[in-house]
Symmetry: C3
Subunit: 203 residues, 3 copies
Amino acid sequence: DEIRDYAREIVEKEIERHAADGLGMVDYALASGGGRVLRHSEPYGGGVWFLNRVSPEAGKMIRPSFGEPGQCFPLKGSSGFIEIRLRSAIVPEAVTLEHVAESVAYDRSSAPKHCRVSGWLQEQDSTDSEVGSKKMLLLTEFTYDLEKSHAQTFKVESASSNLVDTIRIDFTSNHGSATHTCIYRLRVHGHEPSSVPMLEKQS
Amino acid sequence: DEIRDYAREIVEKEIERHAADGLGMVDYALASGGGRVLRHSEPYGGGVWFLNRVSPEAGKMIRPSFGEPGQCFPLKGSSGFIEIRLRSAIVPEAVTLEHVAESVAYDRSSAPKHCRVSGWLQEQDSTDSEVGSKKMLLLTEFTYDLEKSHAQTFKVESASSNLVDTIRIDFTSNHGSATHTCIYRLRVHGHEPSSVPMLEKQS
Amino acid sequence: DEIRDYAREIVEKEIERHAADGLGMVDYALASGGGRVLRHSEPYGGGVWFLNRVSPEAGKMIRPSFGEPGQCFPLKGSSGFIEIRLRSAIVPEAVTLEHVAESVAYDRSSAPKHCRVSGWLQEQDSTDSEVGSKKMLLLTEFTYDLEKSHAQTFKVESASSNLVDTIRIDFTSNHGSATHTCIYRLRVHGHEPSSVPMLEKQS
Ligand SMILES: [K+]
Ligand SMILES: [K+]
Ligand SMILES: [K+]
């Protein structure tokens, strides 16, 4: 009976976390929360693309995928970038890159591999990204590992508490596709200046 | 091994319930089942709103949220109401009010707090709610508690078996927001006159 | 502690499978993966239907239902058929027919009952189904059982490794509705000629 209670308690906690957007972590990039894609490298497929135009499909990268293959945005080639305006300025603590799970995927060679995430404070509501004049911060560099969970979270390396409201991810390689790289979802975690850090809350 | 079987059995049951719309209870307000929003108090934000017009976004209150922040309908101020026509006339047994889970929410001060749910039988396909001439039933009064599960179910208090096909929820306060109150989802549970009561079925 | 670890391990595996489209099996009929409905028998309700026209709503049958009642496509009467072009030619190994779970359903008399699935290789991008000249394969015959899981998987009976890129399901009865039969989702599992069979992968 005690064992049964143990089991039920663990199950309920895990399902609750699963039901809470899969990870149970606040995502400041989420479209329904106010995030939006500012810029991206050339999309794959489709028709003509005008430089610096945001594709109407680009929002897929900041919306849930619900485990469904194809709910991603494909960028041309094996390297590229995305820039996202967050819902508000935060002290960034971690980012999550999500691809489709192996068990339901047709092919995962289009998953990003080596990635670098940077952030800065842009504030004025401009989509013109003159990053030269901003204080850019390197947040983290990581490798998305096809053997691990489909949603992989990477901590921000610096211990600084600089505010950012814009995030850029550069991927410099993928897992083998010569033609395109698919982004299922990018999440950005952290805390607003007035609130308690996420990591402290959890401990 | 016996323990392993125990654990697996509990897990499977709980996941099945989770997969079954989160609660595994029939919802007669659900939009895809035929429910629809008849009236609501003034929406928050957006442009001009004409009295008694139903906002095209109002249906969000009777559709699943899938754990995503922002999948709600915001009403102006800290009090207001919604009226919903159910898919069919039922003997009401419980209602569920759902907000977004704390672990993924930016801010939960917009959650409703004190609520009162009433119901009546309108039948004729009229959206004009002349409730004065109907037999209105108080179904339940409750307080949505931010410390509990994000989907909270409240039993209908009366033991009567009156039929209702229309439900109204009045919220008279929220959890702190001065500007707006967000409704993620309202569900209405019960049984059709010809069928076995939900609560008996479960026992 | 060991028990706790056992339990957690089982829970995590099961939730992962649940998150991976419910079954953790690749679906070559899925709309977001490139599948599409080619033909179907007469739809139920709505207005005029032109013979051999595919209803704009027919895609619901190859998209996830997320446990929501009503996310299905209704066909007229208690028998009918659907034809689906797969995302690519595969050696078929199993099909899954999904209906809504009993715990959230208003009525399940519209579920299909006796079903027969066949497949063939059409290749040329034609929606005109001159099946007389194709090599049609009977893949499986089954009965959808309302007492079992809402998503029921049936193995392809033949041991052959014929390629198919088009699937047809004929249902010859349903669970009681005289007016219509609802198809929530049909999935087709198997492997591409170049890859390892699904069933071997799992063992
Ligand atoms: K997505
Ligand atoms: K909702
Ligand atoms: K569906």
